[in-house]
């Protein structure tokens, strides 16, 4: 009985359950259908779960192999770093941060889209989000994990990293410095990771239950059983689940703004020209959303193809995400222009020099990549034909990621390398262990993501079904209604 498989996990499909239940329901959408091919609820389960239940395709193994190699490179780099010292990076007395914090901000930025899609789009009732939110949230968590590596490893003595936590100790008590933006980072990122993980996991409960019910072996059944925390799909459970989702969404929404605002304080509160700017918080948030959507697009375009999820992640989804991307590109472009304008308008020669040096100095090439990839190239998205061409969109999303990486690099390195006293000006070039760690962070990210694709439903089945029921007016509701 199909309904058993679907029905246990799927929420009661009737929209009549009240507004509190219509997670993902929004105003009527005039766009193309969010789920194509008139799927039944059972079809949804079958399609989403099938990659988990069959042996992985060779392409998955190939991807995992590449990721593990990268992860190995990263591990070797970390070993060399920990055994020898921060000197194995190309930093110097003038440029104290470069690849490390660039990568940190880059990964935190990538982690932004998940919460945005999960929380803000939920609150704004954007139903199209249901197909992609699971993957986006997973991406968020993995990206934040990658991001967390860098502040930890960039410390001269990472074995004392716990000193940044405010815990009672025998030294006085000696508390951390609550004035330091780095400490704010610890709290902001910590909170963000916690909420994102909770949000992701609570959303997974019904789907884990589905997997538990479908599991054939004892091990998967007990594993998924444990992960589903005894989910039975009762009305009470659904009610509480809905309430929790909304609560977490409400908690997560300010985080979307706060995380990157706080990260930007690392720079904005400093005295270094090029860092010391009040525009940084909104500028960084926009940049983070931009890079996050770029990465979501990159990943989903691959996953959609590789896992046969074309029906769920439709061209309509891609089109919408492209529009978000375009609007963010414009905001980021405006921020760049504002920075230049303020530098000129301020009359502060240090500030003016910092930006001229950014554009025309030794790292002018990086600035050109940043502006080209983040502002100029995305303007192609004004064209519907471009948005509909998935290959072009894929390349474009990659370029956005490249551009956003360089944005952080440009902000960090060009501001530091030539600051106030010309005697201390220096150049910077990364070393092999530095590049190795960067590659390693990609290895970690993709390893986690590939494992996620293999063991966790990539699409939030329960939510898609709700969308389906809404779109098809319940007429096709063979499963969940009973």
């Amino acid at each position: 009985m199909a309904s058993l498989a679907v029905g246990t996990a799927a929420r009661p499909a009737s929209p009549a359950h009240g507004p509190g239940h219509d997670r993902g329901h929004g105003p009527a959408d005039d766009g193309p259908p969010l789920v194509e091919g008139r799927k039944s609820l059972a079809d949804v389960t079958a399609t989403v779960v099938s990659p988990l239940e069959r042996r992985p395709r060779p392409v998955w193994y190939a991807g995992l192999a590449v990721s593990l190699v990268l992860l190995g490179v990263g591990a070797a780099s970390v070993w060399h770093l920990l055994a020898t010292g921060i000197g194995v990076w190309g930093l110097n007395k003038t440029v104290g941060w470069a690849f490390d914090i660039t990568n940190f901000v880059f990964w935190v930025g990538i982690g932004h889209a998940g919460t945005l899609i999960s929380a803000i789009l939920l609150l704004f009732r954007q139903r199209w989000r249901t197909s992609i939110n699971r993957a986006a949230e997973a991406m968020t968590i993995f990206a934040v994990c990658c991001a967390g590596l860098f502040p930890l490893l960039h410390m001269g003595r990472p074995w004392f990293a716990y000193w940044v936590f405010p815990y009672p100790n025998t030294r006085g008590s000696l508390w951390p410095n609550f004035r330091s933006p780095l400490l704010w980072d610890v709290f902001a990122i910590g909170t963000y990771l916690t909420i994102s993980a909770l949000f992701w996991f609570s959303g997974l409960l019904p789907d884990f239950a589905t997997l538990r019910d479908r599991a054939k072996g004892r091990l998967p059944r007990s594993l998924y059983g444990a992960l589903s925390l005894g989910w039975r799909g009762t009305t009470k459970q659904w009610q509480r689940h809905e309430a929790l989702s909304l609560l977490l969404a409400g908690l997560a929404t300010p985080l979307v703004l706060s995380v990157h605002s706080v990260v930007s304080f690392d720079f904005a509160t400093s005295v270094i020209p090029g860092w010391h700017a009040t525009i940084f918080p909104p500028y960084f948030v926009a940049g983070a959303v931009f890079s996050g959507f770029g990465m979501v697009l990159t990943l989903l375009l691959v996953a959609r193809k590789a896992m046969g999820l074309e029906a769920f992640i439709t061209k309509g989804h891609v089109d919408r995400m492209c529009k978000v991307l375009l609007s963010m590109a414009c905001i980021v472009g405006l921020a760049y222009a504002t920075e230049l304008f303020v530098a000129w308008w301020s009359g502060n020669p240090y500030e003016q020099f910092a930006f001229l040096n950014r554009a025309f100095g030794p790292f002018g090439w990086a600035y050109a990549i940043m502006v080209g990839c983040n502002v100029l190239v995305p303007q192609l998205l004004w064209s519907k034909r471009v948005r509909a061409n998935l290959l072009v969109v894929f390349v474009l999303s990659l370029l956005v990621n490249v551009g956003m990486w360089f944005e952080r690099f440009v902000i960090i390195v060009t501001s530091l390398h030539r600051d106030y006293l010309p005697s201390s000006w220096a150049d910077y070039a990364p070393t092999l262990p530095e590049v190795g760690l960067f590659l390693g962070s990609f290895g970690l990210f993709f390893t986690l993501f590939l494992l996620f694709c293999r063991f966790v439903p990539v699409v939030a089945m329960a939510e898609v079904k709700a969308t389906l029921v809404h779109e098809q007016g319940g007429a096709h509701g063979t499963g969940g209604a009973s």
């Binding site: 010292g85 000197g87 001269g156 780095l182």
Partner: protein
């Protein structure tokens, strides 16, 4: 870098070494010659030495006081406390007075002896670093005869046998400033059939000595008293950096340029030179002149001086090689200040020196700025004697050759000829500290003691006898030349007896008669020096025939050739300190290069060769000598000149290959030939019986290779690069300058008031002392003594060439150096130096950003770094507008148990991964505070002297409590010239600077268009 375990020759000695290793005491074999009973401790040794001195003087006072510095009461010195000894610096013949700080029986720091008449409290970078050479684990540790380690008795036997077998005996030394050594050598040579003592200086002043001998009958250099000068013109003479007695000159120079004095003075300083030197970088006006044109320039200068003073001088035969107005302006000033002006020239050319002497005579310099009544004895070398010795060696006429205090193979002209000819000498005895190129030729090698290990005396200037005493029991079986020749004479005596006997015989009688000779010696040891009445109270008079008939001619190089100008570097001098890693890592004050030398070429030369910094150039002479070294473009270098620093590429620098950290991309500190830098001594020629450091003609070409030039500063201009400068250009003003004329009109000239916005931090500062440092940029020469002083005091590690090249030098105190073009004089350059330690900001940007509170503000206004709290985020360094913070990128431990003995036990050795920076010598502040508390009084001004301040030869640094209006620092800070770097950021730095005032080229002179000859 791990040295071999110390040798032992008996079970007792082995056990003693093991005990020493366990307790961290220096591992030392007992001295073979000094009268020390076996097993005696250092303290006991000193007591014995003191007692013997005291007993001879029939004096009942505590014997240890004999070797203590003034003002110290050793009986109260607790274990772990510092003990101070007066001594004389032996790092070069200048003979500066030192106070040596010892902790737990080991010298850890040298400071200037403020009472010393030569150095008056100053110590140069080389002197500061010399304490590290004591703990050089690669020193010659035991005598060698025919390549085998042996004992002193065997070495003595070998020498005595050689001398007894007849034949000529020659003793070759650099200038011996020690009168007792001179006497001992003379005594020995008097007893051998054909003995002669040849003194030759690696940095020779032979021609000047000869000129003075001819003119005055005195073979000595006049003592240069720059404090008396109102106008100084130095031609080819690095008077402040390396010439004869730099600390003494710098003290005098700064005294004559003191705008904060009750009667402000600013003597004028002009400089003409081929390679930009420290002196040239400090001149009011500097022109470049190629080495071949120096004679012509001097001829013009002297001719005009003679014209204006009504004397005779030969007419110049060549056109004036520099801007006409420079000559005119300089001569006008020199003549205007007749009696208080001087022309200094370092060119080793007799014709030139005779002219210079003539000009100085006309200018009334003798008896004024130049003191010939009590002359300098710091240079006595005779190049002609060296030439004669080489001929004798070539002819195989020398049976026994003793070399001490000089490394002729690479330091003296025609060193390669010496190396070949020395093989014809049957017995070659070398007394040296290190197994250098000359020791490699020796049949008998005797280790010389470091100057901190032995009794010694010196008479650097007539009438000043400066004494040295051991501050530690000798670390190796060493013996001075004096003790050697005494032993060879057949009267072996320890140095103490020899020095004291000479003192009591020669010096004590010249002193006031109130003391017995023994007491006088004891007091002299304690004070470090005695002054005696000069032998010749009146200045010698000029003999008649002093005016040369013809002027010396310019010597232009052949077409297509460039001229090599060899110069001593401020750090390594002639190379005698090439084994000292502190000095190897000391940035050259001009090029800022560390760990090696370079071909310094003018921008025009670089353009002609299409060479840029780091391109390897091949310099090949017509005689087949060729060297390769990287180019460094130095503005202000004469056209057609290649400046190369001496003293590099030395044997033994191979050990620095792994001086830095080891990691994936690490590159060695040594070059392709395995040594640090390139030895250019092949171009050091002996021409007409005189050393000629500059003048070798070479072809120069690029090899196509590039080499690492490790510089601590890569951007040298205060003007922003045009491509990135804001509209209208931008010039930054960390260094503020003005002209003398403007300063006279307005003492605030060049010092616009900083704009202060509203602050968030006002009123948050605790009341109480606030330490501050005031740096007078008008006095500071950039000599970098403070840099090494800081390194020695604060255990700053050495990181190696690769790390410096990667921008990771660790200096807590750096000296920023900026070049600027001279308006209207293309090719000329102006230079400013700025010592920059941590500014100890009141509103420190570093303090707010540290997540773990590892950097905080002390109640006395210092910015503190707590090493063991630091987790190493480097956020503080990023947020430092002055970029003074230094990060331990690796663990920089030396792994050399000898070198580690120099570490200051009062200062933490920092671990890998933590940030560090200038602490305003917090250990000195704490010590002074504790001392004041113990004595029940408040801290007085001057109780705390930072390491950088203590030995600054120019007295440019003043440290103190700026909230105490009576302190020297507070008074200095009241100067209208005072400003603070980046004050507009409202970080409230505690370090302030006084505007650099220079007499601009045409200040107060009739305006003339500049032209170039």
């Amino acid at each position: 870098m791990t040295p071999r375990p110390p040798r032992w020759s008996s079970a007792e000695e082995r056990d003693a070494l093991a005990r020493a290793a366990a307790t961290g005491e220096p591992s030392r074999p007992p001295a073979a010659e000094e009268p020390v009973p076996a097993g005696l401790s250092r303290r006991g040794f000193l007591a014995a030495v003191g007692f013997s001195a005291g007993a001879l003087a029939a004096c009942a006072r505590a014997p240890e006081r004999v070797t203590a510095a003034p003002g110290e009461a050793p009986e109260h010195a607790p274990s772990g406390g510092a003990r101070w000894f007066s001594t004389t610096c032996g790092a070069c013949p200048a003979g500066c007075g030192l106070l040596v700080k010892t902790k737990d029986g080991r010298p850890i720091k040298v400071e200037g002896n403020p009472a010393h008449p030569v150095s008056r409290g100053g110590v140069c970078a080389v002197g500061q670093a010399s304490v590290l050479s004591l703990y050089d684990s690669r020193r010659l540790r035991s005598p060698r005869v025919d390549g085998r380690d042996t004992d002193l008795a065997a070495a003595d036997a070998a020498v005595r046998k050689a001398v007894a077998s007849g034949g000529a005996v020659r003793v070759l030394t650099a200038t011996v400033t020690s009168p007792s050594t001179r006497a001992a050598v003379a005594r020995w040579l008097a007893g051998v059939p054909d003995g002669r003592h040849v003194e030759v200086d690696p940095l020779s002043a032979s021609a000047a000595l000869a000129a003075h001998e001819a003119a005055f009958g005195v073979r000595a250099l006049p003592r240069v008293r720059l404090e008396r000068a109102e106008a100084v013109l130095a031609v080819d003479c690095d008077v402040l950096g390396t010439w004869v007695s730099p600390v003494e000159h710098t003290r005098g120079w700064a005294a004559a340029r003191d705008l904060g004095a009750p009667t402000p003075r600013l003597s004028w300083h002009g400089q003409a030179e081929s390679v930009l030197t420290l002196s040239g970088s400090n001149a009011d006006r500097r022109v470049r002149v190629s080495p071949g044109n120096v004679p012509a320039l001097v001829a013009h200068l002297v001719h005009r001086v003679a014209q204006r003073t009504g004397g005779a001088a030969p007419s110049p035969a060549d056109p004036c090689p520099v801007a006409e107005d420079f000559v005119e302006d300089s001569v006008r000033r020199l003549v205007e200040h007749k009696g208080r002006s001087v022309l200094l020239c370092g060119t080793n050319d007799l014709d030139v020196q005779r002219l210079v002497l003539l000009a100085n005579e006309r200018l009334g310099a003798y008896g004024g700025v130049l003191d010939l009544a009590a002359p300098s004895l710091q240079r006595r070398g005779d190049d002609a004697a060296w030439a004669a010795l080489l001929d004798e060696l070539d002819a195989g006429k020398v049976a026994t050759l003793v070399v001490a205090g000089v490394n002729p193979v690479v330091e003296l002209p025609a060193g390669r000829r010496f190396a070949a000819a020395a093989a014809k000498v049957p017995v070659r005895v070398v007394v040296a500290e290190r197994p250098d190129e000359t020791v490699a030729l020796a049949t008998v090698a005797v280790p010389a003691p470091h100057f901190l290990e032995a009794f010694d005396d010196a008479e650097p200037v007539a009438g000043v006898v400066s004494l040295s005493q051991p501050t530690v029991q000798p670390l190796v079986r060493a013996r001075t030349l004096r003790a050697c020749v005494a032993a060879w004479t057949g009267a072996p005596e320890p140095d103490l007896d020899l020095v004291r006997a000479h003192f009591e015989r020669e010096v004590a009688p010249k002193q006031a008669a109130d003391a017995s000779p023994g007491r006088a010696f004891r007091r002299a040891l304690r004070d470090g020096f005695v002054e005696t009445a000069p032998a010749a109270p009146a200045a010698p008079v000029l003999r008649g025939d002093a005016v040369p008939a013809t002027a010396p001619r310019a010597k232009p190089p052949a077409a297509g050739r460039l001229v090599v100008a060899l110069f001593p570097s401020v750090a390594l001098l002639d190379g005698r300190h090439a084994w000292n890693p502190w000095l190897q890592e000391l940035p050259d004050p001009v090029t800022k290069q560390t760990w090696g030398n370079a071909a310094c070429i003018a921008p025009e030369t670089a353009a002609a060769l299409s060479a840029k910094d780091g391109d390897v150039l091949r310099l090949s002479g017509d005689d087949g000598t060729a060297i390769e070294l990287p180019a460094v473009v130095v503005p202000g270098t004469a056209r057609g000149t290649v400046g190369v620093a001496l003293g590099h590429g030395r044997l033994g620098t191979e050990r620095f290959e792994r001086v830095g950290p080891r990691w994936l991309e690490a590159r060695p500190t040594t070059g392709r030939d395995g040594r640090v830098g390139t030895d250019a001594s092949a171009f050091l020629a002996l021409v007409g019986g005189l050393a000629r450091p500059s003048g070798a003609e070479v072809r120069v070409e690029r090899t196509g290779a590039t080499d690492v030039v490790a510089r601590t500063q890569t951007w040298s201009s205060l003007t922003m690069p045009t491509a990135t400068a804001p509209h209208g250009g931008e010039r930054r003003d960390p260094v503020r300058e003005t002209t003398l004329a403007a300063w006279k009109a307005d003492p605030r000239a060049g010092n616009p008031a900083a704009h202060h916005g509203p602050g968030l931090w006002e009123g948050l500062r605790a009341a109480g002392p606030r330490w501050g440092l005031v740096v007078d940029l008008t006095k500071c020469t950039g000599c970098s003594a403070c840099v090494v002083a800081c390194q020695a005091e604060n255990n700053v590690p050495v990181v190696g060439r690769d790390e410096v090249a990667r921008g990771r030098d660790m200096a807590w105190l750096r000296v920023d150096r900026y070049f600027a073009d001279v308006e209207g004089a293309p090719g000329e350059v102006e230079v400013v130096h700025q010592p920059l330690p941590c500014q100890h900001c009141g509103n420190a940007p570093c303090e707010v950003v540290c997540p773990v509170l590892a950097t905080s503000h002390s109640e006395d206004g210092r910015n503190e770094q707590t090493y063991n709290r630091c987790v190493g985020t480097r956020y503080c360094a990023n947020n430092c507008p002055y970029k003074v913070r230094r990060f331990n990128w690796f663990g920089y431990g030396s792994h050399d148990t000898w070198a580690d003995l120099v570490l200051n036990p009062d200062v933490t050795v920092r671990e890998r991964g933590v940030m560090e920076k200038c602490s305003f010598c917090v250990q000195r502040v704490s010590e002074a505070r504790a001392e004041a508390r113990r004595e029940g009084r408040a801290l007085a001004d001057g109780d705390v002297r930072t390491a950088c301040q203590q030995s600054c030869p120019a007295g440019a640094l003043v440290f103190g409590d700026v909230t105490d209006a009576t302190s020297a620092a507070a008074r200095a800070a009241k100067d209208p010239r005072r400003y603070r770097v980046l004050e507009e950021l409202n970080v409230d730095p505690a370090v302030s600077y006084l505007v650099k005032v220079r007499e601009r080229p045409l200040d107060g002179a009739p305006k003339e268009g500049p032209h170039h000859g």
